[in-house]
């Protein structure tokens, strides 16, 4: 054992390695990404780890390995689970041989996601058991136990941290590589009565799954992480209790300190540890459920009270005692508990800020923006200029850094739904109004993840649109993971890169033009010409992510004698390097990458000095 200062995601990865994971796969997505990166970085040598093209592919790789007896890990964010739902729902009916842990990072808030869906609820829906850690150090230990449960009961299990666990750091004790468990999977053994799903098998296994989950409810009642803390201090004899989970348990403990009522911490929300819940409810009149996302514990306790005719009032989100949506905090948990215990007034003592934010001067607004020199800015600007004056346009967006193209002053994202959706949504918009000149913007990683089927659908169904691939040669938003177009894998191998232009030509597209978006003069008339062609056409804007590939460039500089102070560069581009100095534009040299976009649009030629000199 040794001590390390670890991010929750790193601890989860090291826990999986300590459990002897053999195969790991997943798709990047905040807040889950660092788990797989850490598995790759700390690989003792024999773990097969990959970035899959999407979550469904990752789930299927893990499934194949798990039915071959390997311990497998598959990671994703909560919306990624929607993509992987198909294989998982069926895999649960078939079961696994080696332990299989599906890590799904939930994102209360949401801080960087489309939805506030709750994987605990998905566990109930899919019948897959769920483990819910409360801290970084617990996550490290619990994932090792999750592998054991999975293997013992022959089922994949969910392990679902939330953002504050994933991205929290703690100094914790972890095993040395020599202490890791060793698994030698026996390999796939043919048995079509077991591994081929047919209605007959499903009927048989469904009954077994229901029986197993009843048994697991009992087993989990004895699992030490489903714990009851007796009331303490001023609340030793209190007839009120608090049921909580995950980071909320830690918030509650910090908020209450040594004086707290009886507490029930639920580490396995599904199958719900019913017997343990009965033990907790004994002697209580009222319970407050403190949890994020869905009222999972609240529903389960309400059910238990009904089933056993217990006169205990269960309160929480559904009764308006805890906020129904959004992320909790130490403060919101403290308030909910204080008002439940009737100590709302004294609750102010622990948290008594000297200052209230409502009396301070107006704070700066800082939404995230595209980086200085980001090629996406040029791509959006070029299309905007090309289509200026066209009455009906649609700029369908997608998921990635380029979603930031929606912000002023570019304002070039009219729709965004989920990974890959923009292409098919553009089809739908054009079906309703064929006069619309539709553009579907999609990043390179998103194209491989779920854009290709969309292009085939649009091509096959004879729709008209311009597909714009924003190819920056990386998965930028989640921290620069490789993908099939980069020719690199997570194992560090250099492989044949999949060429986007060849894929598009293979589908049947005849217009596939690759352009440098930073060359506005060439791009703008070309874009306009292509937009007017019928059918599905593609433009590939190829220019590498500025964060990852720092070009050798001069920096652009404003000549204050020439600058007329029209602010066109600042108003139209929204580049963070462009600021106003008095009434003239000024370029912050520490941020400028010399992309020359501002030089190209300055009406008086007052900016010069940038440009790539490769």
């Amino acid at each position: 054992m040794h001590r390390e200062f670890l991010m929750g995601n790193e601890a989860i990865a090291l826990g999986a390695l300590a459990a002897g994971v053999n195969v790991a796969a997943g798709y990047p997505g905040t807040p889950s990404t660092e788990i797989l990166e850490t598995v790759a970085k700390r690989n003792p040598g024999d773990v097969k780890v990959e970035w899959s093209v999407n979550e469904k592919a990752g789930m299927e790789v893990a499934a194949g390995a798990a039915i071959s007896g390997a311990r497998t890990l598959v990671t994703m964010k909560q919306v990624g689970l929607n993509v992987a739902a198909d294989p998982l729902m069926s895999l649960e009916y078939i079961g696994v041989k080696g332990g299989m842990v599906v890590v799904v990072a939930d994102d209360p808030g949401p801080i960087s996601s489309q939805t506030e869906q709750d994987t605990r609820t998905f566990g109930m829906f899919s019948k897959v058991p769920v483990f819910d850690p409360s801290s970084v150090h617990e996550a490290y230990e619990m994932i090792q136990e999750a592998f054991e449960f999975s293997e013992r009961y022959g089922t994949p299990v969910f392990f679902r941290p939330t953002t504050r666990i994933d991205h929290g750091y703690e100094s914790i004790d972890v095993k040395d590589p020599g202490e890791y468990k060793k698994n030698d999977p026996e390999g796939f053994v043919k048995d079509s009565s077991r591994w081929v799903i047919f209605p007959r098998l499903s009927v048989k296994n469904h009954a077994l799954i229901e029986k197993r989950n009843q048994e697991l409810s009992l087993v989990f009642s004895g699992y030490r992480r489903n714990e009851i803390l007796a009331g303490a201090g001023n609340y030793a004899d209190c007839r009120r209790g608090i049921a909580t989970q995950g980071i909320n348990f830690s918030y509650a403990m910090d908020a209450m300190g040594a004086d707290h009522p009886k507490i029930f911490r639920v580490a396995t929300p599904f199958p719900f540890p019913e017997q343990k819940a009965l033990e907790f409810l004994e002697g209580l009149d009222e319970v407050l459920c403190v949890e994020e996302l869905d009222p999972v514990i609240e529903r389960a306790l309400t059910f238990v009270c009904g089933k056993y005719h217990l006169p205990v009032k269960i309160r929480g989100k559904m009764t308006g005692d805890v906020k129904p949506s959004g992320e909790n905090s130490v403060d919101s948990v403290r308030e909910s508990i204080a008002s439940f215990l009737g100590t709302a007034e004294s609750a102010g003592v622990a948290g008594s800020p000297e200052h209230e934010s409502d009396v301070c001067p107006k704070l700066p607004v800082r939404p995230p923006v595209l980086c200085a020199g980001c090629p996406h800015r040029a791509s959006f600007y070029a299309v905007k200029m090309a289509m200026e004056g066209v009455k009906k346009t649609l700029f369908a967006g997608d998921i990635g850094c380029y979603t930031l193209g929606n912000a002023a002053p570019l304002d070039m994202t009219d729709t965004c739904l989920c990974m890959g959706a923009g292409i098919n949504m553009a089809q739908g918009v054009v079906r309703v109004d064929p006069e619309v000149k539709a553009f579907a913007f999609v990043g390179d990683s998103t194209f491989f993840a779920s854009g290709i089927t969309g292009v085939i659908n649009a091509f096959y169904n004879q729709d008209s649109m311009t597909l714009v691939i924003l190819d920056n040669s990386t998965t930028a938003m989640t921290g620069h993971q490789p993908h099939p177009g980069t020719g690199r894998t997570l194992m560090g191998d250099v492989v044949e890169a999949v060429r986007i232009d060849e894929v598009l030509r293979g589908i049947g597209l005849t217009t596939v033009e690759t352009m440098d978006p930073l060359d506005l003069k060439t791009c703008i008339p070309e874009i306009r010409r292509i937009a007017d062609e019928p059918g599905v056409k593609a433009i590939i804007f190829k220019s590498p992510c500025i964060v990852r590939f720092k070009p050798k460039s001069g920096k652009s500089k404003v000549d204050p004698d020439k600058c007329i102070g029209c602010k066109k560069c600042i108003r139209e581009l929204g580049c963070p390097a462009l600021v106003l100095d008095g009434d003239k534009a000024f370029i912050d040299p520490s941020q400028c990458t010399g992309c020359t976009l501002c030089e190209q649009i300055c009406p008086v030629g007052a900016i010069a000095g940038g440009g790539r000199n490769e």
């Binding site: 348990f249 918030y251 905090s329 001067p361 002023a408």
Partner: protein
Amino acid sequence: MSKNIIFCGVGGQGTVLASRLTAAAAMKEKKQVMTAETIGMAQRGGSVFSHMKIGEANSPLIGKGEADLIVGFEPGETVRQLPFLKKGGAVVTNIRPVQPVSAMIGLSAYDSDAMVSYLKSHVNRLILVDADQALFEIGNPKVLNMVLLGAALETGAVGVEPSDVEAAMRERLPEKLWEVNTRALHYMQNR
């Protein structure tokens, strides 16, 4: 009870390294450390913060009125975190603003002088750092985090020895950067 510290600023200013070095120094002193950071969207020019608890605690997030110290890399961001400061807590802040794009294109207003005056009138234990002057005098534009961290250690609110921060810095940075970072760490102390 833990020592509660908030590092805050704008993405790219170096708040994360300051927080890592502090954590590593505390670990050298066998103390328990927890932090929570903003990651993802917020890094692209957005507000970033890192909550840190040194000592016994359950969760890394700090409640309102619970921070012993705020280390601000940008005056507006410091004011944003002020509700977390405990009565009598200390604030170390850079007074030079980072203008957001939204202010540049006229969609929002940002008066950074008002932020500094507000801090002056509302915080007793306030240490102001003029980053432009400090970095000019030190002769390196990239050591703001060490200057602020040095000033933060001076307040005593971190409870970690500067020598341990220096040792942690040496473990993380290449040797050619040790001298300038050490000078930056002691810059405010020598003034």
